[in-house]
């Protein structure tokens, strides 16, 4: 019996020794930096540049397939693949575009003016249609007297508000074929400053300056099929609506501010985010962002469930990109701003069609001193306004 115990003991020792962790084995290997690793431009590690080099860039717009992004550079329009590839110019360099939106995978609608016809201030612009692959930089004027435009929910075509008379406008649909159809037979009173379509495309919400009183803003909803409209809200005198109201599945969101009020005496106005929920006629501060939040620009997600907001948590906080889940009222910051200037124009942010990314425009803080870089100008990022893709982590994929 003793030999059996000894044998069992020996076998146990053998097993334990065999299973012992060898000091040279299993040590974690430090990861090597990947080739072409992501550059952190000062917006957080997830930000990925979509453009580089000099130029005053803005108004990003994803193609319906999400594989290309168009934007304005110093007034002209370009697009480029979201991955690697060459930039493609759509207009001559003396064009003055303020916004560019895809109306099909091969067509852009451009809001602006051709050389020699540049209007000043709030004068109306024209909408031009440009097609890719035509081998020229020619654009075709398809609508004049345009005050505002907004892409259709599916990315095919867009709605425009065109001025007929002072403080009288009409609504029309620019189809991907280039045809312009009037879709609302009535007249829109007031001067349209921004508009967007409902997720089903049947209604439009418009922000207008009322006739005869330039300081008064109103929100109107137009039923494009029935031909009726109603006023949703009238703002207090001295307040204004920035950009286009956004129609979400939880209501209509818009940015309101008092003209003349600014952060720390600066030129940047203080804007608050309001929501008119479905079935309600009274605007309320949008829940979820906090009472100190300063909104600058907003954009509803393609599914209408979320709102991208460029703003500050409070007047002294840095500007960041946030996504507000309108159902859960959860506000998530998507950028970690390290001394970057994120553009706050109403058209300077855009959702990708799949709702998984947002494009913003940003640059490093300006310096009065000359800066020297060891790179060609075309490769520089933070010295100029450039586009960045910010992933909306897992949220779009989950829907």
């Amino acid at each position: 019996m003793s030999w059996l115990c000894a044998a069992l003991l020996a076998a146990t020792v053998l097993l334990v020794v065999g299973c012992m962790h060898h000091p040279d084995q299993g040590t974690s290997i430090p990861p090597l930096p990947a080739a072409g690793e992501q550059v952190d431009p000062g917006l957080g590690p997830e930000a990925r540049p979509l453009s580089s080099g000099p130029g005053y860039k803005g108004s990003p717009s994803w193609s319906p397939r999400g594989d290309r992004i168009a934007f304005t550079v110093d007034g002209y329009v370009v697009d480029r693949p979201v991955g690697t590839g060459d930039t493609r110019r759509w207009t001559t360099r003396d064009f003055v575009a303020e916004d560019a939106e895809w109306i099909s995978k091969d067509d852009l609608a451009i809001f602006g003016a051709t050389p020699g016809a540049v209007p000043a201030g709030e004068a109306s612009r024209s909408v031009y249609r440009a097609r890719s692959g035509e081998g020229s930089l020619g654009v075709k004027e398809v609508a004049t007297g345009v005050l505002a435009m907004s892409p259709s929910p599916g990315g095919e075509g867009l709605i425009i508000a065109a001025e007929m008379e002072p403080y009288e406008s009409e609504l029309a649909l620019l189809r991907d074929s280039g045809a312009v159809d009037r879709i609302y037979t009535g007249v829109v009173r007031g001067r349209v400053t921004g508009l967007s379509l409902s997720p089903d495309g049947r209604k439009a919400v418009l922000a207008t300056r009322t006739a005869g009183d330039l300081n008064s803003f109103e929100l109107h909803v137009f039923d494009l099929r029935v031909g009726t409209h109603r006023r949703l809200a009238r703002l207090e005198e001295g307040t204004e609506i920035l950009g286009a109201p956004q129609w979400t599945k939880r209501g209509i969101c818009y940015v309101v501010g008092k003209e003349g009020m600014s952060i720390g005496g600066g030129a940047e106005p203080l804007y608050d985010l309001y929501t008119i929920t479905q079935g309600s006629d009274s605007p309320e501060p949008t829940p979820g962002v906090g009472e100190d939040f300063v909104a600058s620009s907003i954009r509803a997600s393609p599914d209408g469930e979320r709102l991208a907001v460029v703003g500050r948590l409070n007047p002294k906080a840095p500007i960041n990109l946030y996504v507000l889940d309108l159902a859960t009222q959860n506000l998530e910051d998507l950028t970690v701003n390290e001394d970057m200037e994120i553009k706050t124009g109403p058209d300077d942010l855009a959702w990708s069609p799949d709702g998984e990314s947002i494009a913003i425009v940003a640059r490093g803080a300006l310096s009065e001193e000359p800066r020297v870089r060891a790179a060609p100008k075309g490769a520089l990022l933070e010295d100029f306004y450039n586009l960045y893709e910010i992933p909306v982590e897992g949220r779009g994929a989950a829907r």
Binding site: L8, L14, L15, D94, V96, L380
Partner: protein, 165 residues
Amino acid sequence: MLWISGAALAFFVTAGAFLMLANLGTGPSEKNLTPEPPPAESGPALVLTLNQERLESLRALPGQELEVGVRNAGDEDLSGVNLTVEVSSENTALSDARYYRDNVNELPAGNSVPVRFYLDLSTYESPMSSNPSSSAVPEPPRKIIEVRATTPEGASAIKTAIVPI
């Protein structure tokens, strides 16, 4: 009891044998892998320097002096260095680039030489105020000075200055 002990013994012996065989077949154990350092530069290497104070003194006028320091930081003499300076506007809608060229005949290893350019940094003939793109850009564009250096030996260097004038 005996058959239980026998079964246990057989299990341990078999497991031990497999472990021994496994250890015999592995050869030398894995070593820590450390990231390889980037390959050290060899042969000719160019270094360009732009004097910061000189850059700060630049004005939007003709005849502005730019001093470019060119240094051979390699271990081989250079038979020549070709220098190109491009002056352009931050506003890419303006076609106002100006180009300047110079060359250094020989540059022994470890030596450096200053090269002076006299740049016209004045605004191009079509002033910004009359250019349509000025209405699309709400701020004055800066000047961009891009300096490139190349050698017949294949060395190259580049420096870009963004000058708010």
